[in-house]
């Protein structure tokens, strides 16, 4: 079994060793150093502690045959056949990864009366679309959808499966991963692939300002979810390529303990995900009423207002306006951040923006690491002056 072995005699300074662990998992118990249940196996203590003090001991485990798993598959996210654009972004990414390891690109499409819609996918460069078209599949219900996915994986054996981190994807992907007892990495911001077909998954981790590179070394398929607007969609080709294969599944596998009573369309809301210009506010904005000033600026430059998580927790804005890992991902042409320090949970949701202007009083704020233009200054000084200037120029 892989575990951390503590060699007490090699520990030079217990205090210092305990401090290395960011999770407080190294404890001194009766004069001996022990590793507790808070350990996340980041192995920093192995790397940074005194040489040999903490050892990572790995036991040989049988390796799977990765050659038996071929193809990169994208789940076609849709509601009533309307394909979510994250699907095309993922197909673009899948194609890029597939060309590195010479694998085909697949799409799996589960629903009812979706054959025509499947044709559209052939314009984006997939080799094969696998179609589960059945009246039990008209609404998303977890058991029958998982059953179709299971059937697909058993028959086709794809190496990698990419799923959009939408409401449906976040529900379906974990269910499928658990059924195959395989790995699933949520909200990847970077994806790459190694020669041995291991998917390189990068995402913010451990609730801190840290990125982690995660892999799934000895199980297949490998699952990852990616949010909308993180990858770029490929150009639609005028010509179709690839083929559509209709899949059969036994009716009894499509049973469900869930009954959909009604589906109501929500009123179309302005989504910050689609905004071209965004002004985002963080804790540097001192009170809710100061939003008036921000909103005035928004109106002047045609921007949408967005916020960070602390402001949502304070109840200052609707959760739909939150940028970041627990909110939305945005990719506008311009984003101006006001009083935002720039924790990775936030920046992960906006670093793809074309132009990032940051205003913050603290010149050491990490937001200046992602900004294209960093303004070290007080938003309460700069913004009123800017608003005045724009008003004057518009009036002139």
């Amino acid at each position: 079994m892989a575990h951390l072995k503590v060699n007490q005699e090699k520990i030079t300074d217990k205090e210092q060793l305990i401090k290395i662990c960011p999770f407080g998992a190294i404890e001194e118990i009766n004069g001996k150093i022990e590793i507790g249940a808070a350990c996340k196996m980041c192995r920093l203590c192995v790397k940074k502690g005194p040489a040999g003090a903490i050892e990572y001991v790995e036991e040989d485990i049988p390796q799977i045959d990765k050659n038996k798993w071929k193809g990169i598959c994208v789940y076609v996210d849709h509601v009533e056949g309307n394909i979510h654009p994250v699907t095309f972004e993922l197909i673009g990414k899948a194609r890029e990864l597939a060309s590195k390891i010479n694998h085909p690109v697949y799409a799996v499409f589960i629903g009812e009366n979706i054959k025509d819609k499947a044709e559209e996918i052939l314009h984006y460069g997939v080799d094969e679309v696998f179609l589960y078209d059945n009246k039990e599949l008209v609404d998303f219900r977890i058991e029958p959808y998982t059953a179709c996915f299971e059937d697909f994986i058993n028959k086709i054996k794809p190496s990698i499966i990419l799923v959009g981190a939408t409401t449906v994807g976040r529900s379906l992907a974990p269910r499928v991963a658990a059924r195959f007892r395989t790995g699933l990495t949520a909200d990847c911001t970077v994806l790459d692939v190694k020669e041995n077909t291991d998917l390189v998954q990068i995402r913010p981790a451990f609730g801190g300002n840290i990125m982690a590179q995660i892999n799934t070394p000895n199980t297949r398929p490998q699952l990852a979810t990616v949010r909308y607007k993180v990858m770029s969609a490929p150009q639609r080709n005028d010509e179709k390529s690839g083929k559509i294969t209709l899949m059969d599944i036994e009716k009894e596998k499509l049973n469900s303990n869930i009954e959909v009573i009604s589906v109501t369309k929500k009123e179309k809301e302005v989504s910050i995900s689609d905004a071209e210009v965004i002004i985002a506010c963080g804790r540097g904005v001192k009170s809710q009423k100061d939003f008036e000033m921000i909103k005035e600026l928004c109106d002047l430059i045609g921007a949408q207002i967005a916020v960070t998580r602390p402001l949502i927790e304070a109840g200052w804005a609707d959760a739909k306006r939150q940028i970041g890992l627990s909110g939305r991902t945005v990719k506008p042409k311009l984003i101006i951040t006001c009083g935002i320090s720039g924790a990775v949970q936030f920046t992960a949701g906006m670093r793809g923006s074309d132009c990032i202007i940051a205003i913050n009083k603290d010149e050491k704020a990490p937001i200046f690491n992602v900004a294209h233009y960093g303004i070290v200054g007080d938003l309460y000084e700069v913004l009123p002056r800017l608003i005045e200037k724009i008003k004057v120029s518009k009036g002139a």
């Binding site: 996340k40 976040r170 974990p174 269910r175 840290i210 009573i261 109501t264």
Partner: protein, 263 residues
Amino acid sequence: MDILVLIKQVPGTNKVEVDEKTGVLKRDGVDSKMNPYDLYALETALRIKQNKGGKISVLSMGPPQAESIIKEAYMMGADDGALLSDRKFAGADVLATSYTLSQGIKKIGKADLIICGKQTTDGDTAQVGPEIAEFLGIPHVANVRKIIEIKEKSIVVEMDMPETVEIVDIKFPCLITVEKDIFQPRLPSYKKKLETKDREIKVFSLKDFDDKNEKKYGLNGSPTQVERIFPPSVNNDKEIWQGNSDELTEKLYKKLKDLKFIQ
């Protein structure tokens, strides 16, 4: 009705940074709290109990210190609680965590309704709930924003989808994950604190589970592995402006004009 709420202890702040020179993680303090999203799950359970009666249990997994959030749940009104804690659970990813929790749920006895928060603030994956449902072989509905009706054998809920709202009837036993704002969570009560001060918190470890195979827990039961951790990349192609407010405003105005965001 037996309701089980899954809760997690998370760091009180997210100020964890990597020292770029040494690669060591720096953390300000070690204070921790209950995952804020779990408060909504617990409140949902409490409201259901108010209307329909029943018993509320809470379950968590983590180091022994995580008992503090179970005490907090008692102060809000939970009836009993258990903690899954074992060194062998260390280093667990989503799959191993979900499997451990599902074994813990079997140990404390199956619930009619399991409620989870939408996600945690430290992992942010929102995946553990659905994986637990899979391991228990029960249906789940995520993103529940309203409880419409509790029937004898099922629950009717409103599910928030990006463009639609779905009303679904889901049979017990089942698992739901609830959205923030489903109900406003109550504050822990001082009265309950006194009442529950001596209430037991059961602690279970691997030896208490049906499945004692060590290979399914902790790092060994985790199909994903962290290969390396590193600070987020830094954009070096940038301009930093300093000066007095008039100069800064002038520069910002000019830039917005150059980029044609101001006509």
